[in-house]
């Protein structure tokens, strides 16, 4: 029925194109597109394998199975009732096919599998839950009013996207809008499509005398709370973070629900930010300060478990996840060198003090001798008979100071034997993340351990340093990361036939931090690179006339470790195609 409605709507819209064109006259403009987007998994190394406990050790799906099937109708309207007032609105309707690759999705409101018996009904329920929650959409994504109070002051009020920062693919200072990557890996999609717009008031003040402008944001957080943070990548399936192995769940808990404690619609949760962007000589610079929330990952806050056990001895439990506050401070610089260098160099940095990371929480089993409280658990009902109260335990998290920078070299090149007519754009980026203050961590607190970090003691012996429990992959709270993270990106694209054909390639590589040599100055060795992960994404864009746009391509993802960085997605190579009719 839904498909029928969608097709009917699409046909009506396409049929209305001539009349829509009429609507483009005057001060009202209506545009839009209908788009079909399909992807097929292509990794023949995928064999639907599971470990001895039944946990899936392969992710994605078999060759030829859908990685996505998404159909989008987007309508964009602009209206200028007065010279100084404009209204902009974007509606997006999405219908997607359900995907078999979602059969192991860790949807938040479903019982967590502790043994995967591959029950078809359970798997289908997860497929359906993911499809229902993430793949369909009818949303007024943007609706805002633009008011030019003066020629120098612009006020934009309403649901909108704001993009700060100058790095196209790395969101150091682009911290305002959260992201929804549930339907595709975000690097493979335009930020415009993956960002979640928010209601806000944006004031833009042009200060020509200082060659700059001041942009201030006030976000009252009146959106649906779920839309105010990045969709946790652990919650969905085909493009989510995969379920770990059973070893990660040494516990007597059986998680029934993951309950997000989203920031409530309360003024105290408002977000505010300010950015100055200016020109100083040949330099462009920005200064950013933003008081918001940690959009990802959500932090396990506490767990409530039933005092009863099931047949297998597990306690049913609900895990509550919170979204902590986060401040971001940063700056960016860019400079264009004249030809023959002809290169733009950009530097962007972001400091986020007190970023919180989930770590493994060693929650002891059972009760203390008084059957009421032990060091971990607190009885919720003290009037209940001994041992018959639900229990609550606080979960652990760590705070780190996080500093990140990105350096980009951008050049437009004339390489005539490759492309005699158009330039070839090349981009090289390096990103590095640094995490500070590990000394603040109580060494005795966390014992589940990081297998990657060895520390040399005074007597020369080595032992695991179990304090480096930083979760790098958002939302994946059983994954450990390192104090330095490096990402290398190279990209090239050009166009042929006067822009009718635009091929491009983006390569990303994340060398793995060699934990075994922590403390050594020799941080980047060959092993670092061999153990890393990355992707190669090729795109081939075709433009036919004013209406048809077709994109095909291939995304190849590799990683030495299936539970580290992009290795999470290493068995999700895909070929894809996108056909858009725009009007």
């Amino acid at each position: 029925m839904r498909w029928g409605r969608l097709c009917a709507t699409a046909l009506v819209v396409i049929g209305l194109v001539p009349s829509l064109a009429v609507a483009e006259s005057g001060n009202f403009d209506l545009n839009g597109y209908f788009q079909m987007q399909y992807g097929l998994f292509t990794n023949d190394a995928y064999h639907n394998e599971s470990d001895k406990d039944g946990f899936p050790s392969n992710h994605g799906d078999r060759v030829g199975k859908l990685s996505m099937a998404r159909h989008t109708l987007l309508l964009e309207a602009d209206w200028e009732p007065f010279d100084v007032v404009g209204v902009h609105a974007v509606f997006r309707g999405v219908r997607s096919a359900s995907l078999r690759a979602d059969r192991f999705a860790q949807t938040p409101d479903m019982e967590f599998d502790l043994k995967y018996n591959h029950d078809p009904d359970v798997m289908q329920a997860k497929i359906d839950a993911t499809h229902e929650k993430y793949y369909n959409e009818n949303e007024l994504r943007e609706i805002y009013v633009d008011i030019d109070a003066t020629s120098k002051i612009n006020l934009r009020i309403g649901r909108q996207q704001v993009s700060w920062g100058d790095m196209a693919t790395y969101r150091l200072l682009d911290v305002v809008n959260p992201v929804d990557g549930s339907w595709h890996l975000p690097p493979f999609e335009a930020f415009e499509d993956t960002r979640k717009p928010l209601y806000m008031a944006k004031l833009l003040i042009d200060v020509p005398v200082l060659q700059g402008n001041l942009e201030t944001l006030y976000i009252p957080l009146i959106d649906d709370p779920e839309d105010t943070v990045t969709t946790p990548a652990t919650f969905y399936g085909a493009w989510g973070l995969p379920v770990g192995s059973k070893n990660d769940y040494i516990s007597d808990l059986k998680v029934m629900n993951k309950i997000m404690e989203y920031p409530e619609n309360d003024l105290s949760n408002s977000r505010v930010g300010v950015r100055w962007k200016g020109i100083l000589g040949g330099l462009t610079y920005t200064l950013v300060a933003y008081h918001g929330h940690q959009l990802t990952p959500p932090i396990p806050d506490y767990v409530i478990k039933s005092w009863e056990t099931d047949d297998e001895g597990y306690h049913a439990a609900d895990v509550y996840l919170r979204i902590p506050r986060l401040n971001t401070y940063g700056f960016s610089l860019d400079y264009a060198f004249e030809s023959p260098i002809g290169m733009v160099v950009k530097l962007e940095t972001a400091l986020t003090p007190e970023v919180q990371y989930a770590v493994n929480s060693p929650l002891s089993a059972g009760f203390t001798t008084d059957n009421r409280i032990n060091s971990t658990w607190e009885a919720l009902d003290l009037t209940a008979p001994a041992g018959q109260s639900d229990l609550r335990a606080e979960m652990h998290s760590e705070e780190r100071h996080h500093l990140a920078y990105a350096l980009e070299l951008f050049r437009s090149n004339q390489i005539r034997f490759i492309n005699p007519k158009s330039s070839i754009i090349t981009v090289f980026r390096i990103f590095q993340d640094f995490y500070f203050n590990p000394e603040d961590i109580n060494e005795d607190e966390y014992k589940l351990g990081n297998p990657y970090v060895l520390e040399t003691l005074e007597d020369g012996s080595q032992e695991r340093n179990e304090n480096w429990h930083i979760v790098y992959a958002p939302g994946y709270d059983s994954t450990l990361a390192t104090p330095i993270k490096t990402t290398l990106v190279a990209a090239a694209f050009t166009s042929y036939f006067h822009g009718m054909f635009t091929p491009g390639v983006v390569c990303a590589y994340l060398p793995r931090y060699p934990a075994e040599i922590m403390g050594s100055e020799d941080v980047f060795d060959w092993e670092t690179f061999e153990n890393g992960s990355g992707f190669v994404s090729t795109t081939f864009n075709f433009s036919f006339g004013n209406h048809w746009r077709i994109t095909t391509g291939y995304n190849y993802i590799q990683g030495a470790d299936p539970y580290y960085d992009l290795g999470f997605f290493r068995d999700r190579d895909e070929a894809y195609a996108k056909v858009r009719y725009q009007f």
């Binding site: 930020f191 462009t284 264009a336 733009v344 006067h498 004013n546």
Partner: protein
Amino acid sequence: MTYKKVLATAVALMLVAALATLAGGQGKLTRANWAEAVGFKPDLSSAPAAGEVISAANLEQYKAFVPDGVQKLVKRYGFKIWTKDYESVAPADTYIAATNKYMGTAKTLDPNAHYRKIGIDGYKAGLPFPKPKNGVEVAWNYIYSYQGDDAKNWFSVYWISAKNGIERSEDWTWNYITRGCFRTDIEPMPDIPEARAKRYQYYSVTTALTPLDKKGFSAMYTRSIDPKDQQGYIYVPAQRKSTRFAFGTRGDSWNNTDLLYEDVRGYMGYPEWMTWKIVDKKTMLLPMNAGISHGKDVVKNVYDFDKAPHWNFKGKWEPRPVYVVEAKAKFPDYPYSKMVFYIDAEMYYICVKDAYDKKGQLWKVLVNAWNKSPDPHSSPAPVGTSLVVDLQAEHATAFGWQKSLSNVGLTPDEFTLANLRKLGK
């Protein structure tokens, strides 16, 4: 006796006047004498009669009047030249006054100097070199030809294949300050203080209006008085970001058209980047006073989009005094081995340009057709249409003008990063 005194006085006065005129060099430029005083008088004796239509059939007869590249268009693609009578054209009164005021102050510097070294000194405003003596002076006359001080434009771009017709089209706006310095029409004159301080000559912002996947894309850049690369930013709607962009690449096409950035207006580079040589000075047919209608709805009346090669346009060409100037790049990575410009000797506009590839083969022909000024006393002649034909690829880009307004009072405050952001969505 009295009569003799009167006669002697009159003769003396006439002599004084004549001497004063001589002392003034070429005498005071006026609207009436502008055409001959800054260039030369066209020889109309053997020029095609008004109403003559030059086609492949009679091209041989008028070959001497038709630029080489346009001859190719006529022979190979059936391009037709509708002729009209010559009408002299002069810039606005203010520009004429500035030319008079600063006559003789401008001097070219060593034309063989490094391409980053400024090649003119003493220029204040107006036409720098009436009756140019060499190619460099013609080039400077083109650079500082009368364009008004600023303009707003609305235009359409058509990508055209000789075989398949229109491939696609886009609509754009283009706002620019032509004269940040050396202004003649709008206060502050002669310079906008900020522009003078930064040595900015030119401010420009282009914004795509259609189709949807380009809507909101904007490019904003400035050009210096000095022969530096353009500096600027682009706004990318899909990223909602304005970001610095390198505009200095030689041979980079504008928006995947047949037009290079340097081809805009005929030549968007600096005189210092080229060596210049006058190869001829004669009367030729050029599309001045072309009478081409503006408007998105009428562009189909201007261009014959239906019939191959789908890019021939109908405009008036008239016998004009023309400097034929050859330019060769000083740097090795330039895509053209040489360019031949057909520059109107009255307004110093580039009306036709032939561009040759590295092998010396004619590669592209660019035609800029100029209309009459809506008010010759106060505003410049607007462009009627522009056409670039890639003869080797059998492909063209046509620019259909929808609307053009000059001297509207743009200020540098409208070319800021904040405004670039506001232009996007």
